[in-house]
Structures are given as structure tokens and as C-alpha cells.
Amino acid sequence: MTFSPQLEARFEKLLKSYPPGRQRSALVPMLLYAQDEVGSMTDELIDEVAQRVGVTPLQVNEVLSYYSMLHRKPMGKYHVQICTNISCLLNDGDKLWEHACKRLGIGNKEVTPDGQVSLEEVECMGACSWAPAIQVNYDFHHFITPEKLDQLLDSLTKKQ
């Protein structure tokens, strides 16, 4: 499997970051970075990463199923993650979630038919003082109202 030169460089750096014989330590970050490029945890990707860090594909599977950011199914080009945890809830994060589901016509971890947008109801993302908060891929958006969410979705879907 071939990766972009940036990802290759990152892997190389990661594999050198741990004590000798401890390449397995690179596994979790490697999976996340690889998923960002490939889109999801494909069988091919699992085999490749397993081989690079010196574990079996089964061990990789065991690890990836534990971490909530790693997924076997591809998400949309814009993965919209809405926090409904307590500090966001107190600022109507649940209403925001409901609004997003209605507007996009999809539910949790689903993707719009054109593959552009996916939704996930997530746990606290560390933006509690600027609630309700969402992340689109890795970008944080604070103090989001249903109107602001609409504008954001409009601008994302127009960009294509």
C-alpha cells in the first residue's frame, strides 16, 4: 500500500520516537493519521499498519475497536461531530443535534447520500466553556446555534 510522502515521513518519525523494540507504540497515532488519508480502517490498511509495527492484523483490529475515533466505515468528506455532553447540553447542545439530524436527514454515524456530510453525536470534546461546540473534521466551532450550523453547512456544501 502506498501513502503520501507526508504520511510516510510521519510514520518514519513515529517509529523512531519510542525505545528500541517498542515500535508497537506507534500503532494508535499511525492508525489515526492513516485513517485521515485513507478515509476509514480498510482491511488493506490494517494489514499494512500491522506489518509496519510488527503485530498481527488481529491485534490491530483489537486495538482499533477500542478507540472511538477509528472507524471501519467511511464517513463523509465533512464529518460533523456535535457534543451533547453536560456543559453543551446546558447550552442546548441536544437541540442542536436534533436540528442537524433533521436538516441533513441522517442520524448518528450516517452519511448523506452524496457522501459529503456525516454526523456523529460525540462526548465532551474539550470546548465546554464555549458551548455548544462542534467539530467538523478536526476544526472546532464554538457557541454554535442552529442558525450558525445552517450557515456552516451551506458554506461547506457550496465549496465542493
Binding site: 500503532l27 492508525l31 486495538v63 456543559s87 465532551c124 467539530q135
Partner: protein
């Protein structure tokens, strides 16, 4: 970047460079006494460094509040094994968003704290474990690490002191449990974040089976000031048994939410009214969780006279925790609040031990049903009982983190649970919210 206006009531020690142009760059740091504490520490004996940290009364800022100097003294300095410094930047306790601003605005302060810890325990390598969602902070951290190497503040023979240190940023991939110290170490070794049995504690057997200092981001960030100005000066900022300031996250129903650096012992009423600008829409305080959603809740009455420090909170049978303050106004449905908190712990339980895995799942199921109007009177005691049966009986404290809010919500707001028995969905929904939707029942 700052996400909220600072407050004049803050005591800015860790956050003093926040808001300066390019506050994250090494040049800004060096221009403002940066790395001077490391220089000073390099001329001290390791025992002297640890002694200053002990004098400072610095207690761990990750939640448990363990005295940092004592923790460092447990590391067997003379062990032939390599030693490691691990930074806990997993920050996932609901209500907490302070490590994020510390790394974003002043990563070199963290690096300097780590270096001083390295000097204290004879460690020569460290890892900054950052939750996967904070991708941009990995970039901030890697840039800062790169700058530090380029200017000779990391690497071999740092500034001619003869001390070598390598530092790496390491990304998680979404798991609250990986904030628990032993689960974090498993994750750092490329495994599922399942906690380890202790003892041995990480100070003796930690990362890669070697002695390890593991502290929260904020804890390390306090160290340069302690060494620079002396432990006693830091101690004097706080209260008798806990020194310094606490990065405090005001969240929930509050007019000026934000992260503020307040001296330990800051009065709760002043924090809510003056720093936070009071409660929106003219409402009144119903309850407050002082340090992240795992801490027992306080009623408005219990908040009277309380101060933000370990002793005042433990006198009220709760904890200062991580500094994530969750303010709830008089329109908050406490059943719904508890249900959402428990949904989180059920989602995050690693599944390793039965009381936590089954306990959080039962609680979630009962509370969701209860909030939707399907509760019975006996459920109320059952909820409290499940919590009490989990408390202290789980493999790691995640079970306690779920049990403590559960027990306190039921005890202190029992009448609200009873009000849900009429068979219809939540009677407490905000009048201005319109109809209740059942999105939370997944």
C-alpha cells in the same frame, strides 16, 4: 488564541503570557524569562528541586490532587532502568477545557516543566499524550518541540549543562479511559486502554516497564514558576495545604463562560457572580459541579461559603477535581443532567471489570427510561443502590466517577426524581424550549 476575555480577578501565573502576540513561539517565551527556571534547576541537586516542589504545595491538577513533590520522590532515581516523563493531555473529563488553552497558548512552559521533572528524577525522554480530537495541538506541540531542538533547549547536552532530553508528542484516538494513568500507559504502548493493576505504581513500573513520572499538563506548567520564584512564593498564592492557582473552566449556565486562572481558595460565590458574570436570564443557581462531571454535585445552599480548594470541597463531600465547573440554573432538570452524565460513563467504560461495565449500563438504561416517563418509585432507590455498589469496587476509578454523581444527584434532588413519576416525559423542560425530543435515548 484566547476564546474568552480574561477577568481582572484572575491571578495570572501559568496564563501570564496568554494573549501576548505569538505567545506560543519560543522567542516570546525566551523574552519573558523562558527556560530560566530550567537553567536554575540544572544548577540544583535533584533533591533540592523536589524539595521546592514539595514546599510549593503543588497538587496534581488532573483530578486526584496528589501532592506532586511526593509523587516525584517515589521514583527510584538510582534505578539502572531508563526513566520517563509522561504528560497527561488526554483532557476528556466533561466540563474541562484548560489543558487545551495551556498547550495552545504556551507550549514552551509545558516543555520547561517537563525538563525540570526530568532533572529531578534523572529522566532523559518524555511523551506528551494528547487526545486525538486535539489534532491542532499535536501540531502546536510538534512545532514547539522543533523550536526547542533548534535552539538547544531539547536534545543532547542542553545549553551546555550536560543534560540530555528528548520529547515526543503522541496522539490518542478517542477514549476517556486513556486519561486514567495506567490505561494511558497501555495506550502509549499501542494497546487498548485497559487499566493496569496497582501497585506497582507508574513511579516504579510505568512506561515501557520503567519508572515514570506521569502528571497532568497543568501540573507541569506550574513547575517553571515554582523553580523560578521559589516554592514558598507559589504556596503563598493558595491556601495552607494547597499552593498556587487553578485553571478553572466555567461552563454551563453562566454569562461569561471561559477558562480563568484563579488562586486556590477563591470564593465560589464570587467566581460565579463576578468572574462568570452570574447566571443568564435572571435565573438562580440550582446546583454546581466543581471539578468535572465525576464529582458529587453541590446544591446552591452548599455552595454558600464554599471556596475553590481541596479542603473546602472535601468538607462538602465533593472534590476540586479537574477544575471543570458546571453551573446549573433553576430550570435544569437534574434527572436529565444525571442521565446525560451517565450516558457518558457507560459509553466510556472500558468493559474490563464487571461492576463498572454492568453498573454504568444499568444506570444508563434506567435513567433514560426514567427521564422519558417510564420510571417507578423503586427505581429511585435502585439508582442510588447501583451507585453505592459500584463505589470503591471497580478496577480503576472510572466506576467511582460514575457512582459519585449518581449517589449525590439522587440524595440531593430526590424530589425531582419523584416528579418524574407521573408517567409523562420530563416536567422540568425549559418552558421556552418547546417540545422535548427523545434524541438522548440512543
Amino acid at each position: 488564541m484566547l476564546y474568552n476575555e480574561p477577568s481582572p480577578l484572575e491571578t495570572k501565573v501559568l496564563s501570564r503570557r496568554f494573549g501576548a502576540p505569538n505567545s506560543a513561539s519560543i522567542d516570546t517565551y525566551l523574552a519573558d524569562q523562558g527556560y530560566q527556571a530550567f537553567r536554575k534547576a540544572a544548577g540544583m541537586k535533584p533533591e533540592e528541586i523536589i524539595e521546592q516542589v514539595k514546599i510549593s504545595n503543588l497538587r496534581g491538577r488532573g483530578g486526584a490532587g496528589f501532592p506532586t513533590g511526593m509523587k516525584w520522590s517515589f521514583v527510584p532515581r538510582t534505578s539502572p532502568k531508563p526513566k520517563y516523563i509522561v504528560v497527561n493531555g488526554d483532557e476528556s473529563e466533561p466540563g474541562t477545557c484548560k489543558d487545551r488553552v495551556l498547550i495552545e497558548n504556551d507550549p514552551h512552559q509545558l516543555i520547561e516543566g517537563v525538563l525540570i521533572a526530568g532533572l529531578a528524577v534523572d529522566a532523559h525522554a518524555g511523551y506528551v499524550y494528547i487526545r486525538g480530537e486535539y489534532r491542532y495541538l499535536i501540531e502546536v506541540m510538534e512545532k514547539a518541540i522543533g523550536e526547542a531542538y533548534a535552539k538547544g533547549w531539547l536534545g543532547k547536552n542542553i545549553q551546555g549543562t550536560g543534560f540530555d532530553f528528548d520529547l515526543y508528542a503522541h496522539s490518542g484516538a478517542g477514549a476517556y479511559e486513556c486519561g486514567e494513568e495506567s490505561a494511558l500507559l497501555e495506550s502509549l504502548e499501542g494497546k487498548r486502554g485497559i487499566p493496569r493493576i496497582r501497585p506497582p505504581f507508574p513511579a516504579v513500573v510505568g512506561a515501557f516497564q520503567c519508572p515514570t513520572v506521569l502528571n497532568n499538563v497543568e501540573t507541569y506548567c506550574a513547575v517553571p514558576a515554582i523553580i523560578r520564584d521559589g516554592g514558598a512564593a507559589f504556596a503563598a498564592l493558595g491556601v495552607p495545604k494547597a499552593g498556587g492557582t487553578k485553571m478553572t473552566c466555567l461552563t454551563g449556565n453562566i454569562n461569561k463562560p471561559g477558562v480563568y486562572e484563579l488562586r486556590l481558595g477563591f470564593p465560589v460565590a464570587q467566581m460565579i457572580e463576578e468572574v462568570g458574570g452570574g447566571i443568564p436570564r435572571g435565573r438562580r443557581l440550582k446546583a454546581m459541579i466543581p471539578g468535572g462531571s465525576s464529582c458529587p454535585v453541590l446544591t446552591a445552599k452548599e455552595c454558600e461559603g464554599a471556596t475553590m480548594d481541596y479542603d473546602s470541597m472535601s468538607a462538602r463531600k465533593t472534590m476540586l477535581g479537574s477544575g471543570g465547573v458546571i453551573v446549573m440554573d433553576d430550570q435544569t432538570c437534574m434527572v436529565k443532567a444525571l442521565m446525560r452524565i451517565i450516558r457518558f460513563y457507560a459509553h466510556e467504560s472500558c468493559g474490563w471489570c464487571i461492576p463498572c461495565r454492568e453498573g454504568t449500563t444499568w444506570l444508563r438504561k434506567i435513567l433514560v427510561r426514567f427521564h422519558e416517563g417510564g420510571g417507578t418509585r423503586s427505581d429511585i432507590d435502585l439508582i442510588g443502590d447501583i451507585g453505592k455498589n459500584m463505589l470503591g469496587r471497580t478496577f480503576c476509578p472510572l466506576g467511582d466517577a460514575a457512582a459519585m454523581p449518581t449517589i449525590s444527584f439522587v440524595e440531593k434532588f430526590r424530589e425531582e426524581f419523584e416528579d418524574h413519576l407521573a408517567g409523562k416525559p420530563c416536567p422540568y423542560e425549559h418552558a421556552d424550549h418547546g417540545i422535548e425530543v427523545l434524541s438522548l435515548s440512543r
